[in-house]
Amino acid sequence: MYYYLIDPKSYDGKNFEFEQSRLLSLLNEYQVAGEAARVTPIRGVKDLVATAVSHGVKTLVVVGGDETFSRALSVFHGKPITVGFIPLNSKSEIAKILGMPQTLDACVAAIAKRLVNSFDIVRVSDAFFISSLSFESPEKECHLFIDESFKIHAKVLGGKIINAQEAAGRSANIFSDPGDGRLEVILAGKLSWFSAWRYRRKFTAKQFEALPGRSVLHAKSLRILAPEGMPLYMGEYLIARTPASISVMDEKLRIVVGKNRVF
């Protein structure tokens, strides 16, 4: 049984009602129709996912953005549910990682094809994500405690904690396997004026792994202790603030992927 959670706030186009009716007719056409619920101010993402879980849904498809998916993940993680994702905006990093196409028709076809992979789920404080986190701290020293094994003190420009990453933002020699149970921790060191100018575009795009003098570490869990109050972003969505504990969970997520996935 399919359950579609539709978040209109994530839509970046012009006519959402038309897009929704097109989606529902495509679901019928590909014979993957099921119950569809729309996120409203009264019934939010978590309420709808909890309802779906209580109804014994086997396949939950999130139709929205990365923020919608992260909020839904905090409820359905650990449950025996297969998850799908249909992006409603072009900026979705999760869609690019999973190989979900940009067109609605191709997305529904990918859901119907039901190619399923296992994914690591990462917990940061009370939130969850499957892609990557980034932070910037140009003037302050960062303190990290990695795998309860060693501490890092570094004055860095910023950093990234990667479970999975889209192909465009990935450096050739850093491959993030989203099923290996580990995170890649990238710390961007201070640059000279010339390097800062030369790599300004990569820094603006948060491609810290492509900057010279970067650090690359691997961890199953880490704690960011300082600076306090530093925001952690999943894309453009503020997910948590430091101090924060980040760890890979034991349970895996079964998720429908497209043929253009990056792993």
Binding site: S149, F150, V156, F175, G213, R214, S215, V216, L217, F263
Partner: protein, 148 residues
């Protein structure tokens, strides 16, 4: 018969082309890099290559290779498959294979390795113990007594 041979060869060449197509090999353990602005305290244990350009104190361990950059300073015991030093190590080093100290390298501590190479200008203070080479004890050079 020639037709069958040609078709078989073309099939084999196609298979060879597919086999050599570039793919990301995720089975190779990833590299760990400690950048120049990073200070690390504790036990750094990795599965793949380690490259250090910052300051490390504690312990460094890997089964693959360790490269200590010119700006690096390690105050720790080191254990690796092979070690290349262009920076500073204050501690004991255990290399299963090759230990190389480059011209800018500075090692203070005991070394245990199978093979060692020290460039002119390198600094080393300590004891070096070489692992015994495995062999059958016979050498190819004839002894003087045998010639007579």
């Amino acid at each position: 018969m020639r037709i069958f041979k040609n078709s078989k060869q073309s099939n084999l060449s196609h298979m060879t082309a597919v086999k050599h197509s570039p793919e990301i090999d995720s089975s190779v353990a990833a590299e760990t890099i400690v950048g120049h602005s990073v200070k690390l305290e504790g036990d750094l244990v990795a599965e793949g290559d380690i490259k250090v350009d910052g300051i490390v104190s504690g312990k460094v361990k890997t089964t693959k290779s360790l490269f200590v950059g010119p700006t690096a300073k390690i105050e720790a015991d080191v254990e690796a498959g092979s070690v290349t030093v262009a920076g500073v190590i204050r501690g004991n080093v255990k290399a299963a294979d090759l230990m190389v100290i480059l011209q800018t390298g500075n090692v203070t501590g005991d070394i245990v390795c199978s093979a060692i190479a020290i460039e002119e200008g390198a600094y080393f203070v300590g004891k070096c113990t070489m692992n015994e080479k495995k062999g059958n004890g016979k050498t190819s050079v004839p002894l003087p007594d045998e010639d007579e």
